[in-house]
């Protein structure tokens, strides 16, 4: 046994013990606080509203009641503040300002709020004089225990006191100065000096509102040095939302989220600060409660293969999460934030934090909605009458099927959806829990499509060993059932369901007289038959379990271990009935199965210390190991010709002796070492340095480990006297960061040489095939990750008492060592080889602006507005080849083109083709020609937007609230591939339907259909993405129900765009040779318009 092996086992043993201890602790220690009746006349609702109903009570008692129920703590000097006055007050408000002003009305007292502490002082004190006073008092923590060693400093001066063993302090200060209390792990406190000041310091971790989740930890927003954007559950998008990505679409600047279509649970394209890569693998890393997920598309089983339809779009990999379980989503954008995820950080990191229990009474919550969805508007193809009339007018022979069918009506429907979520949560000082169940049944607006989802989640946190050990465990289980129709993202001239519905002759009937489907031919299909005779069901089960143990080894030194297990099992079963005219091999069954999973073990240490309260350090060091496994198998069988039986139930009805079976497996591992130093000088200057060393099995022999460092600096300028003197900024912070991250999302096995079997040959003159063996891969042992260097400079500010706050970030990202499949130096075993292209760069430069304003903050009226803007300029430089082509158009006659190219000096997503000028006298297309008379191919558009601008606003009046969310994307182009097939007359003459627009053209019926600027359209849009009207029901008796809210939401209510397709938010996957395309519109599942009615209640 070698030493390494032994050590390894030892660690595993240790880990196992820790896990075991954790489990034991849960079951012994998990206690649930009993519910206790609340008879106080001060109530705080879930939403943070304080209800005050007191009758003639001394003010002091009222304050105590508020303290008990709310998060606020009152500080006053009983010598000069008289609180014996009795007050009568009945109010409900979420504004503490409002409550305080009512409370202190008619007194000579005033108040000052500093975070959770409310200082009550005589109104005149602030301006009295500048005599020196002696301040003394005690500093306590939240539990009332004395805090030793707290720094008490006169603001702006050097005099400092430190609390003693009993938390006591005393110091001299000018009377109008403020004192600053600071202590590691607690929120800084700043209050006007008074002779007697007993203060409570609040731990950092409690102030959730201010906390953002970063890699391997959390941080106060004010201490952040990097660019991190967080969205809390209250700011999530509302309405018919089935996946987490939809919750934050348009909410964060610099994060471009595009729905690939409107299919329930459909895929999304997420780009954090632009496209960094050329190949696929540009998706951000998802981390759920500290567990980096494998969200790759190969976890989804593919469907049946069928001529003309193409492969179906991928679903959103995060569908397994229940949006109702999510507390917050934080997006790490700059290198300082993402470098801790090293070789997976280059595309940004999306940190999902789930809800946990809170200390206090147990709470049962229910929320649910029912919704109705419909197609906003039909694509304007000719009706049967228009079709006949136009053909007669133009003298085109058409086949008249004698019927009048609106094929779109035949495939679309009004869809109904419902959602229920139930959760129970609670906790005490040492433990908390949350259990939740969710159910979603979402119908799609195309018949026989939809998604049904069951979610269950269990979370438990328990402290033990004198609070020195904290164990957290979470188990998430979900089942998703997708029902799909034969819709494809590419497909040939026959067309998928939607293309068929649009192009098929509207005079054809749906059914023959004998009740069977009218199916013209293999190429001219019947969309109703396609829906009815195809069954496509996917069942995905996913379990994500993780246990975290945090052990305080000694004060401020914590050891943390995170063990996670993520397993997905998905099966897709497709049957196609033999009655379908295009089934040449009678009925078929396709069963595809994917088993995919990953295991994670992470160990890390954190240590916090300070030197004389001036230099504060927070250190992190750790190790992580993650193993991914993906296995799929599939089989397909044909030859079914029985009727009235589901083929799946008896496979022996088909040609079961000739079943085609396939399988594939990939295994890869990632081993990493990481560390971070946070240094805080005087709470003004913040420095962060991160590094991660990532080793991956995917990399070549010569480059197993990559090093990803980053550093960031932040300057809290509002702490500087000269900024304070301006008396303008409530918050002003300058941030700057620089760092390197990587992208390792490359296919498996590509670095290695491969001697494998290949096509055989007959060598004996007979019919025996000798299998061949040859090199089947050109190896590249130097293969490594892509490196993305990112620089970021940003400013955070808050003015007008923080009623206007915001941030501006400028960034520049440069990707080098770009991984590409380039042409090999022939002669070589394969024509292409994976390589890190030297000198090549992909640059993204951008600006992000976020603004939040509280315009009205009144007792009855409140009005907030939030805006975010981002603009990114993307550019490819020094591409070693003249261009890389991608985005091949689909449909009849336009194959063989590439709509998009990647070319030096142009952004990714550049459309390249002929420049369409109009029609000549014969009705043939005229294109821009060069001097030699050849058609010029040039840049005819770009799929990346100039900018995106999103606006959300909420107005509340008493118990009503209205929120609107607009999102817009401006300046992007879309290649309307669907129009290229439909919006012309060439196809009409061959029996296809056409658009009403095309009938106005002077085009010839035999015009050649080229890909050209004719079908490049402006994809800019403004969408009223959601509008919600809510009402909080006033509850007289809150004994049983503490909160009841009704809401009415409309999604996709308004869309302003010049795009002629169903919806400009499209992105059909037209990956060619591993290079994805952008902004191609095909028969994308149209976006629905939906209306939802929701209820939420807390018990």
């Amino acid at each position: 046994m070698n030493i390494k092996h032994y050590s390894c086992n030892n660690t595993k043993f240790l880990c196992n013990r820790l896990v075991l201890i954790g489990f034991i602790l849960f079951f012994i220690g998990a206690t649930v606080q009993p519910m206790y009746a609340n008879i106080n006349s001060v109530m705080v609702t879930k939403a943070g509203e304080i209800t005050l109903n007191v009758n003639n009570k001394p003010m002091r008692e009222v304050l105590t009641l508020i303290e008990k129920q709310s998060k606020f703590i009152f500080v006053y000097n009983s010598e000069n503040v008289n609180l014996s006055k009795s007050v009568t007050i009945n109010v409900t408000s979420s504004s503490i300002n409002e409550i305080m002003s009512m409370l202190l009305k008619g007194t000579t007292l005033t108040y000052e709020i500093s975070d959770r502490q409310i200082l009550i002082l005589p109104a005149t004190q602030g301006t009295k004089n500048d005599n020196k006073i002696t301040v003394s008092g005690v500093v306590l923590d939240e539990a009332g225990n004395a805090l030793i060693g707290v720094n008490v400093q006169v603001k702006g001066e050097s005099s400092i006191a430190v609390t003693d063993m009993d938390g006591k302090y005393s110091l001299m200060t000018p009377a109008n100065k403020s004192l600053v209390f600071s202590y590691v792990g607690y929120k800084r406190l700043e209050m006007k000096a008074q002779p007697q000041m007993n203060v409570h310091m609040i731990s950092d971790a409690d102030a959730l509102n201010e906390i953002v989740v970063i890699g391997y930890g959390t941080m106060k927003k004010s201490d952040l040095t990097g660019s991190v954007s967080g969205v809390k559950s209250k700011d999530f998008n509302t309405g018919l939302v089935s996946s987490p990505s939809q919750l934050i679409q348009g909410r964060v600047s610099g994060v471009n989220i595009t729905n690939n279509g409107g299919e329930p649970g459909g895929g999304v394209t997420i780009r954090v600060r632009g496209s960094n890569s050329i190949r696929s693998g540009q998706d951000p890393l998802y981390v759920v409660d500290g567990v980096p997920l494998d969200a790759s598309e190969d976890q989804q089983p593919s469907g049946a293969s069928l001529a003309g339809i193409g492969s179906s779009g991928k679903k959103n990999p995060l569908n397994f999460l229940n949006p109702d379980d999510i507390e917050s989503i934080d997006i790490l954008k700059d290198a300082s934030a993402t470098a801790i995820y090293g070789a997976r950080g280059a595309n940004g990191v999306i940190m999902v934090t789930t809800k946990k229990g809170t200390e206090g009474q147990s709470k049962v919550s229910y929320s649910g909605y029912a919704s109705v969805s419909e197609l906003p508007s039909e694509y304007s193809v000719l009706s049967a009458d228009q079709y006949r009339k136009y053909a007669a007018e133009k003298g085109v022979t058409i086949e008249d099927g004698g019927a009048s069918t609106n094929w779109q009506d035949e495939i679309f429907r009004t869809a109904f959806s419902k959602n229920h979520n139930l959760s129970i949560s609670g906790g005490n000082k040492t433990s908390n829990y949350r259990i939740s169940l969710g159910y979603l049944d979402q119908q799609g607006i195309i018949k026989k499509t939809g998604m049904e989802k069951y979610n269950g989640r269990f979370y438990l946190s328990q402290k033990a060993l004198n609070n020195r050990l904290q164990i957290e465990a979470s188990l998430m289980a979900s089942r998703t059932m997708d029902q799909r129709a034969p819709l494809g993202e590419s497909g040939g001239y026959e067309g998928d369901l939607l293309l068929t519905a649009l192009k098929v002759n509207p005079t054809y009937p749906v059914y023959n007289e004998d009740g069977t489907y009218f199916q013209k031919s293999k190429d001219v299909r019947n969309p109703v038959a396609m829906i009815d005779l195809t069954n496509d069901n996917t069942k995905t089960d996913r379990i994500l379990a993780n246990i975290t143990g945090t052990l305080e080894i000694c004060k401020n030194l914590n050891y943390k271990m995170n063990v996670a297990f993520d397993q997905t099992q998905a099966t897709r079963k497709v049957t196609q009935d033999e009655e379908l005219i295009y089934m040449t091999d009678k009925g078929t069954v396709d069963i595809n199965n994917v088993e995919s999973g990953n295991k994670l073990i992470e160990n890390y240490l954190t240590y916090k210390f300070d030197i004389k309260q001036i230099h504060k350090f927070d250190l992190l060091a750790g190790h992580s190991y993650q193993r991914f496994r993906n296995y799929w198998y599939s089989f397909s069988e044909e030859g079914f010709d029985v009727e009235d039986i589901n083929y799946l139930y008896d496979l022996s009805f088909g040609n079961n002796t000739t079943i085609t079976g396939l399988s594939d497996i990939t295994v890869n591992e990632l081993q990493s070492f990481f560390g971070r130093v946070n240094y805080n000088l005087l709470d003004k200057y913040l420095l962060t340095a991160n590094f991660r060393i990532d080793g991956s099995t995917k990399f070549g022999e010569n480059n197993k480990y990559g090093f990803f460092p980053s550093a960031a600096f932040a300057w809290r300028m509002n702490e500087e006297q000269f900024i304070k003197d301006l008396n303008f900024f409530d918050n002003l912070k300058l941030r700057a960061s620089v760092g390197v991250t990587g992208n390792q999302e490359i296919p498996n096995k590509i670095s290695q040489i491969m001697l494998g079997s290949t096509d055989g040959a007959i060598l004996d003159g007979g019919s025996t095939v000798v299998q061949g063996i040859t090199l089947t891969r050109t190896p590249n042992p130097d293969l490594k990750w892509e490196r993305t260097e990112q620089k970021n400079i940003g400013i955070d500010f808050g003015i007008f008492k923080n009623r206007l706050s915001g941030n501006v970030d400028l960034f520049s990202k440069t990707t080098r060592d770009v991984l590409l499949q380039v042409y090999s130096i022939s002669p070589a075993p394969t024509t292409q080889v994976w390589s890190n292209v030297p000198d090549m760069r992909i640059e993204n430069k951008g600006i992000e602006v976020g603004l939040n304003g509280v315009i009205i903050d009144h007792k009855d009226w409140k009005w907030n507005v939030g805006i975010n803007y981002s603009s990114i300029k993307n550019m490819v430089k020094n591409l070693p080849m003249s261009s890389i082509t991608t985005g091949n158009p689909s449909g009849p006659g336009i194959t063989g083109f590439s709509s998009q190219i990647i070319k030096s000096g142009y952004p990714i997503g550049t459309f390249w083709g002929y420049n369409f000028l109009g029609f000549d006298a014969d009705g043939n297309s005229v294109y821009e020609l060069d001097d030699n008379g050849s058609k010029v191919e040039k840049c005819i558009g770009n799929a990346q937007p100039d900018f995106s601008l999103n606006l959300n606003t909420s107005v509340s009046w008493k118990r009503f609230d209205l929120s609107l969310f607009f999102n817009s994307v401006v300046g992007n182009d879309i290649y309307n591939n669907l129009a290229n097939v439909l919006d012309n007359l060439s196809m009409f003459s061959k029996g296809s339907n056409t658009t009403t627009h095309a009938t106005t053209l002077s085009e010839s019926f035999t015009n050649v259909l080229d890909y050209s600027s004719r079908y490049i359209e402006d994809g800019s849009y403004l969408r009223l993405s959601s509008a919600t009207l809510g009402y909080n029901v006033p509850l007289k008796d809150k004994k049983w129900i503490s909160n009841l809210r009704f809401s009415f939401t409309g999604n996709n209510l308004l869309l302003l765009t010049n795009y002629s397709g169903y919806d400009p938010e499209v992105n059909s996957s037209r990956t060619s040779n591993g290079v994805p395309s952008l902004g191609i519109g095909w028969t994308n599942y149209p976006m629905a318009r939906s209306f939802s009615f929701g209820i939420s209640a807390d018990f």
């Binding site: 197993k704 040959a761 063996i773 196809m987």
Partner: protein
């Protein structure tokens, strides 16, 4: 103290964890065949990829397509919304450039062929040198020489690796035309005496005659390779060497001219080919999983479907080529399958019929009449004369895949090469005997001595080998017909004789230079 503890703790964790994985990639679904290749009994598995490669010479998106579409034999015109690709059109009009994807495929095909052979040689040479292994080495050397020959013929120069050079990140030596020419000649001369005769190896394997024939082709075109376009008159000639090699093949009497021309092109042509004149067949066998090109589908009209075949209405031939024909020549048309499929073999013009004899219609309902005229830029559905050279098996259940063995080299070509070499070297009488041997075998009138011209020899080659693949481009260059203006094609400059080196190859290897005058 605390710090020391931390450092120690971290050190411990680091050491423990570092041992957990060496990050060696685990590959579970690929068989590592390094054992297999070290065993002599597996020699045939090592040589199989080189033989399998030969099938790529029939590719309709690579070698076959390009070598035929640049001539007057084949054109893929755009038809309204169908077959709309400038890569097809520019091949025919000689407007091709270094970005033409089909030319790229052609280059890549030959390059892959060389590597497939090199890998086979690399492992074969390490085995015990039994007779079997030695023979496989020589056969593989032939296939590699064939690839080199085509590269030299089409592209002029090309990069070449020896089988011992296995670091694929190193830039290989570039073989320029003169050097390549000498190397091919020398390699063929080395293996000719070593290769087996027909009968000594099974049908489908490389024989001595195949190598002799390739060498004869090199000599026949020697003047082209060493001379200046368009006439090449300054080039060196090797007519005698050509004649000598042809004599060797003919005099060995291993092959006989076929009595039934079309029997060579039927679906199951292997037995007849073996019995008669085929020198280098490329085997296809649907039942064995070796499926051929959709010969019928790419040319016939949508409504000419039969059995399991569905049609794509693509390529056709040209009036220029049709004009060379005597329409009574049996090689022009053959009706043996008409009762089963409705159409004739050979060239299809005029009204088309179903198997039952009914007049077929176009998709828009007019009569389906194939007209020889077409427009390369935009044709109607029924324009262009179609060609069915390789006959389908009407009862095939394999859909579009053809069954026919590919006639790469036939004895007829040997006669016609000798005829041409004799004619060009002044032996008109000898030439006449050779061409008339073929013409009488085919049942057409023989020529008189006075009538025999180079053009007649050129045309005869067209009658024999149209749509076969490897011959027409080469012939057009040698007979100075390649660049001339013809139907739907303007005259092209002589630099077009060499195809452009694909941009992808230039970009991968900066030492490779583009052929003159190409961008």
């Amino acid at each position: 103290m605390k710090k020391i503890a931390i450092i120690l703790y971290m050190a411990v964790i680091t050491v423990f964890m570092a041992g957990c994985t060496d990050l060696k990639e685990e590959i579970l679904n690929e068989q590592d065949d390094s054992q297999v290749i070290s065993q002599t009994e597996n020699a045939k598995m090592i040589v199989a990829p080189a033989y399998a490669y030969l099938r790529d010479l029939q590719s309709r998106s690579g070698v076959w397509l390009v070598l035929e579409s640049v001539t007057d034999e084949v054109v893929f015109p755009t038809r309204g919304t169908d077959w709309n690709s400038s890569a097809y059109r520019t091949l025919f009009t000689h407007e091709y450039d270094s970005k033409n994807s089909y030319i790229k495929n052609t280059w890549n095909s030959f390059m892959l062929g060389i590597t497939k052979c090199n890998v086979a040689l690399q492992y074969l040479t390490k085995l015990d040198q039994t007779d079997e292994v030695k023979n496989y080495i020589n056969e593989t050397l032939f296939i590699r020489a064939l690839c080199m020959y085509h590269l030299m013929d089409c592209f002029g120069h090309f990069p070449m690796r020896e089988y011992t050079e296995t670091d694929y990140s190193v830039k290989p030596k570039i073989l320029y035309r003169e050097e390549a020419l000498e190397r091919i000649i020398s390699e063929l001369n080395t293996i000719i005496p070593l290769l087996k005769e027909k009968g000594e190896v099974p049908y489908g394997r490389i024989t001595k005659a195949a190598a002799q024939m390739l060498l004869a082709k090199v000599y026949l075109n020697y003047q082209v390779y060493t001379g200046t376009a368009p006439a090449f008159s300054d080039g060196k000639t090797k007519w005698d060497e050509t004649i000598q090699l042809c004599d060797d093949i003919i005099d060995a009497k291993k092959y006989t001219l076929a009595d039934d021309y079309w029997k060579l092109y039927l679906a199951y042509n292997e037995t007849y080919s073996d019995q008669t004149e085929t020198i280098l067949p490329i085997i296809f066998n649907n039942t064995a999983g070796i499926r051929g090109v959709a010969w019928v589908n790419i040319t016939l009209h949508y409504n000419q479907k039969f059995g399991n075949f569905s049609m794509w209405n693509g390529c056709c031939t040209t009036p220029t080529f049709l004009a060379t024909w005597d329409k009574t020549d049996p090689r022009y048309q053959d009706n043996r399958l008409k009762s089963q499929v409705g159409f004739n073999l050979g060239i299809l013009v005029g009204q088309q019929y179903s198997a039952a004899g009914a007049e077929l219609l176009t998709r828009t309902g007019s009569k389906l009449i194939f007209t020889p005229e077409f427009s390369v830029q935009n044709s109607t559905e029924s324009q262009g004369a179609r060609v069915v050279k390789y006959a389908p098996d009407p009862t095939s259940t394999y859909g579009s895949n053809s069954e026919n063995d590919f006639q790469y080299y036939r004895l007829t070509d040997v006669y016609l090469m000798r005829c041409e070499a004799k004619f060009r070297s002044g032996d008109k009488g000898g030439a006449l005997i050779d061409i008339n041997t073929i013409r009488s075998k085919r049942g057409v009138a023989t020529y008189a001595l006075a009538d025999l011209t180079l053009e007649k020899i050129y045309n005869e080659r067209g009658y024999e080998f149209y749509w076969d693949g490897p011959s027409r481009r080469n012939d057009m260059v040698r007979f100075n017909r390649y660049c001339e203006a013809r139907y739907e094609k303007p005259a092209s400059e002589t630099y077009k004789i060499l195809l452009p080196i694909p941009l992808s190859a230039l970009e991968a290897n900066s030492e490779l230079k583009q052929n003159e005058k190409y961008e």
